[in-house]
Amino acid sequence: MARRSRLLGCLLAVILAPVQAGSVGLTAPIPLLNGDTKGKLIYSMSGLRSSTSDILDYAVVVTCTSTLPATGKPIVLGVEFFQAGGGAVNSLVAGQGVVVLEPGRTVSISSVDTSLYNEDETTGDTLSMGAARIIATSNKVLCAAFQVETDNFPPLHMWSIPVHKKTKQKGE
């Protein structure tokens, strides 16, 4: 009996070890923006779909506006997308999905190109189902996110994606 529970314990340890060793997805360590700029987690999103070869294709578009006054500093901001398995699909360290917002500036960052937006940055990532987080040098930003059908103007479908502060969901 004791041998059996020890064996079970060993199995559990082996299964859980990779999860404990390195967190993935929204809880992964914050990467340096452009490889040299420290940012903080501002917002998170879940339930994202991004495709380029389906009957109808969809992009995730994140729009952010700096709320700093004219005298404020530029904000460096990046959107990091994660696959269903938690692996990051774009590298903020390499500048993929990273933009600079001057005070008052509004930008759009998308996973793939859309007909609706003239995106400031497109990471070119497809997601079967995934998540994303917004990392920035200041929390003086407002962000909204949309799932947008990509091929038509105006799009055939479009809806707003809930944006959670850091990793906290208020709940409905």
């Binding site: 917002y43 506006t65 709320t67 005070p103 509004t106 937006y117 003086k140 105006p154 479009m158 959670h164």
Partner: protein, 164 residues
């Protein structure tokens, strides 16, 4: 000579002043003479002829007095696209609902439409009002014809995003 020098100096000072910075700016006077509060903000605003327009609807929670409200739209670089000191200020009697669109849409009978066509530009906007006793919603709506697509646009209190 002294006068022209002073004028030149003033011109340099004016030109050197920081450009409008959008949501972080002090609210202008409504109609040029009425002090207003920055009540709500939005990002992801669109205003495209034959594409999607932004409609903001507000309902007054005031019990006895009218309130004034306006929507100030900002371009992608933060410059104001409409001048609420001269146009676009709407009066809402107690309990009533009014709407302001960036463009005139077929779906709504907007109380005021700003007539902004900014193709492929993503914008921001804010609701300015003489009272914060108002509820507002914002929508992206197809501008032309019966809308087949639309989306809720998140509305943030002042410039704070509480998160969903």
């Amino acid at each position: 000579m002294k006068l022209s020098g002073a004028i030149s100096f003033c011109a340099v000072l004016l030109l050197a002043a920081p450009a409008g910075a959008g949501l972080g700016d002090k609210p202008p006077l409504l109609n040029g003479d009425t002090k207003a509060k920055h009540v709500y903000s939005m990002t992801g605003v669109l205003s495209e002829t034959n594409g999607l327009s932004t409609v903001v609807t507000c309902t007054s929670l005031e019990k006895s007095k009218d309130l004034l409200f306006a929507v100030e739209f900002f371009g992608t670089f933060g410059a104001a696209l409409n001048d609420v000191t001269t146009a676009g200020v709407v009066t809402i009697p107690p309990g009533e609902t009014r709407s302001i669109g960036s463009l005139d849409t077929s779906m709504y009978t907007e109380t005021y439409a700003a007539g902004l066509s900014r193709i492929f530009e993503v914008l921001s906007a804010r609701v300015l009002a003489t009272s914060s006793k108002l509820l507002c919603n914002a929508f992206l709506v197809e501008e032309d014809g019966t809308p087949t697509v639309g989306s809720r646009l998140p509305v943030y209190k002042k410039t704070k995003q509480a998160g969903d």
